[in-house]
Symmetry: D2
Subunit: 324 residues, 4 copies
């Protein structure tokens, strides 16, 4: 293998730049030529591909977003689109690919590799942490800390006014961000897609809470089965039916995707990037490089996409105890 | 004058604690007894009043929110409510008041003082900066920096995906936060209540912008006459009518009210608190202590409430030039 | 077991408050009475012990430092001192202890327990991460992020002036902070106590680096065998002997001990606190509650103190590759 | 005037990039060609000059440091060096200059302009705030907030251990940073070059303080006439001579020069940059564009360099009152 390429795809996450940097520098360290593909599969189809050097990735490790940009590509879902992409890679002499992204990215990579045989190793870049094969995904730690800093600020004003705040964090299919924000933010309740939300218990507790606590924080993952934070607040408000109580909603939104990555995400992004290149050189393909139990591990794309990653049970237990 | 009281009222703002601390310590420094009234006019009516000491305000200067809490009081709008409040103050022997808050707080203080004659000096505590008689209000600088940090994060993800983001910041009646966020955040447009928003020009520019720039930020003050960020985005989206363009909305919300105050807000809060106590001792009343052109000034409550505070024209000019 | 006590000891670390909170609330949740001992062993000897309630630990999870304070106690190293401490615990009816701290804390706890038989479970509270029996210590993640934020700032000015900066981070016996800061901060070199520092290679590389890079960052753990950052800088400067090159030193110092804990440290502190109480109730003693491979584990104090915890080899490899 | 150039010189400060951006975009807005000179006077002599476009300054407003780099030039102090610099400007057809920096920068600019007649307008870029002709310098607000955040962290650990901390902040000739950090950080004492430091009073107070307060913060400007923080701590320690008291020193150092600029510094940098270009077009020269009392003002370089800028008296009074 002489030439490899790297791209980012799907929702961007903090630490993707650290990962791109590690891919580029490891490749150069190992004597490879390395190319950056811009805007994910879209750029692969359009031939938006450039040679990268060590200095191309200087001074980016601390930046949010991705210097390679990201996009969604409908065309890559068609055989014609993938053929165009393949032709562009061949034209550049690219023999291996590092794909940084999440479920969608790996699904595309799996099909592409099976069709055209160019070895691909993935890196888990998503804030949601819902990828099997790695303890944490690149961007998760930053997203949690960003959300937590926001919750800390909201608690200031919640406490000043004795309010009940429903705060919506990202997580369409997974409650990892919500649970860690709930524990770290000292929330009274956390509602996540993985567990049944019992609104009547929440209502009961919020009624009681007022005796000892003056303000309350409820963290809601956007994908909770009872609805988003606004919907849940309305249901709770109706049932509590107490004009004295002051309910507010804040949806944290896209601030959770940006910002300078935390140390954890820079280190994790760097480790996965290094491991992906080493994996390609060892002949690996169709798999993702992740970190489990402090060791680098490679997991087949099929498992990354298909297997479920459950919430940590100790964390769920903590939530129950600490909100007393 | 031997005994004074201090309270916070209306929406809380970062730096209120610095102000409370300065009131308490200046009062003690000057040989006065000082009391804290909890939850603003509500606590005044309910007699929720406690003696404060130097240590009562230790280690609070860096905290958001207000240790004295805040509330809205319907009862204080009635003569009966105000009479109760007066009786409580008399019972504690309180001869002067420092009221930290905004328009509503000063309106209440003005009426109360005219009815019962207890001298009151105000301090401008609100994030909106829309109070005449001070260059800046306590909390404004922190709110702008909080919103700006959020905009910086959003720009990361906006740039990664070539998106157009409409970001709503606080400011129901005033565009101060929006303008400074717009300049500081490198926004393409800023929409504020004070100026007519020309959507057709925005549409035209956003269409053109795509040639040179890949992502755009539009900052919207919540009180813009064209609606909130969501409403404005929908209008713009319809008129641009280009499926390639990706529009997103983020409403920053209550994070702007909390958080550790900036240096500016701690210093300003401290200066106003000190000046309010000194003002009371000099026989001032029915006025607010503010800082203009680096000097402490006292402005009659009537002017604080009634006179308009215009946006800085140089800032508006900057917005036009820098978004090219 | 009906009554337990908790204390913090040794150098404080961010997340200790989260841990105290978890101990208190878990104890109450389990039906125990819980007491706080102030200033570690010193307070135990002086009888500075207070009952704690759920609200005693409200609104502290986000705070640096420790509400129970910390101190070093010479007297506890004497049998007389420990006897006094024991008498105070007996007087309060305390039957179990949670000790939050590091090596020194556990050494004291081990002796005390062996002498007087009160069961003690520890929690790993130190920024240095050098305790066997837990993947991370409480405070490490915050310290790394604080140091990293400082390094990011220094890189701004290093780059503006083409300077070589030697930055000293904490770590008298261990290089964990230095290594993660080096990777995350994009440092050219990291010097740690665990590995032999080859200054001649550093000199050679810094001479060469100038061709492609204009500024350089060298991260030095305070305990490196070649000396502190100032000493190492002087040695390197002499050997390079190039007046064109501009060398600077910054010692980050005690900022690394304070600050609001990161999400990781709040969650880890909470988990360990909960586990310590559960451990006591299960009859455990003379051991520390930590988290390894995402599971709660209990490790005998003897191992925590005596066994070495090596740096992660993948991290060391990364450092070599990424500084090219 | 058709072509102008901009450079940064002296110690870098956060907000310089915002200023460069405003110069470039205002120049283009006004129909001028604009050039960037790299590394200040050094680059002017070496001809390191490049055309700048609107996109050259995209996405830099939020970055610390300066994209134009900075350096000190001995050669510019010689007539030969300045002649070379002039020839390079003539070769590029440059008819006007914006010089961003401090005292040294303006001294050079004044001489150069008097010798060669190319009009120059300055912008006040330095963290020290010690330039006459502007209420604040670009970078001051960020430096104060950075130092304050560090002091907040140190207070956490100071409080946990009942320590007395001497914290050294930047300010060789001026105490502006120290005073605002002292007020904002709730320091017990502030020592600055402008006022005589009375160590015996400090010693006396620190002895007394222990009765009511357990920890203390003393902020020292690096240029205090009693020495740096380490020296002052040693003197105080000797005089107090109490082994129970635990003294520590932290020198914040170069972190104060870097980091993402605050809103204030971004807006101020932008205003000054715009005003400098407008000034050149109005025929101004040999002067600095600053902001006083919320208005743009132009002050002759001679006054900027020669006139003293005193500390704000209200701030000094505050220090005295609030440390009780």
């Amino acid at each position: 293998m002489k030439k490899i390429a790297v791209f980012t795809s799907g929702g961007d996450s903090p630490g993707m730049n650290a990962c791109v940097r590690a891919v580029v520098r490891t490749a150069i360290f190992k004597g490879l030529e390395v190319y950056g593909i811009y805007r994910g599969y879209e750029g692969m189809i359009e031939g938006d591909i450039k040679r990268m050097y060590s200095y191309s990735v200087s001074n980016i490790i601390q930046r949010g977003g991705t210097v390679l940009k990201s996009a969604r590509s409908m065309e890559f879902k068609t055989p014609e689109g993938r053929k165009k992409a393949y032709d562009n890679l061949v034209a550049h002499g690219i023999e291996g690919i590092v794909a940084i992204g999440g479920d969608g990215t790996f699904t595309g990579a799996k099909i592409f590799q099976e069709e055209f045989g160019i070895p691909t190793v993935g890196c888990p870049g998503t804030i949601d942490n819902d990828i099997y094969g790695t303890d944490y995904t690149i961007g998760f730690d930053t997203a949690v800390n960003t959300a937590l800093a926001a919750i800390d600020k909201i608690r200031d004003t919640a406490a000043a006014h004795d309010r009940i705040f429903f705060i919506e964090v990202m997580g369409r299919d997974a409650g990892f961000i919500a649970v860690d924000c709930g524990i770290g933010g000292g929330a009274e309740f956390v509602m996540v897609p993985e567990t049944k939300t019992d609104l009547s218990m929440v209502v009961k507790s919020l009624k009681n809470l007022r005796k000892s606590k003056s303000s309350s924080i409820v963290v809601v993952a956007e994908g909770d089965e009872e609805g988003n934070a606004e919907a849940i607040m309305q249901k709770v408000k109706e049932k509590i039916n107490d004009k004295e109580k002051d309910f507010k909603v804040t949806t944290l939104g896209h601030i959770q995707r940006g910002g300078s990555p935390t140390a954890k995400d820079r280190v994790l992004g760097s480790l996965c990037g290094m491991a992906a290149v080493e994996g390609l050189l060892e002949g690996r393909m169709n798999c993702m490089a992740g970190v489990m139990n402090q060791e680098i591990v490679y997991t087949p794309f099929g498992d990354c996409i298909g297997k479920e990653k459950p919430l940590n049970k100790e964390h769920l237990k903590l939530m129950e105890i600490l909100s007393i």
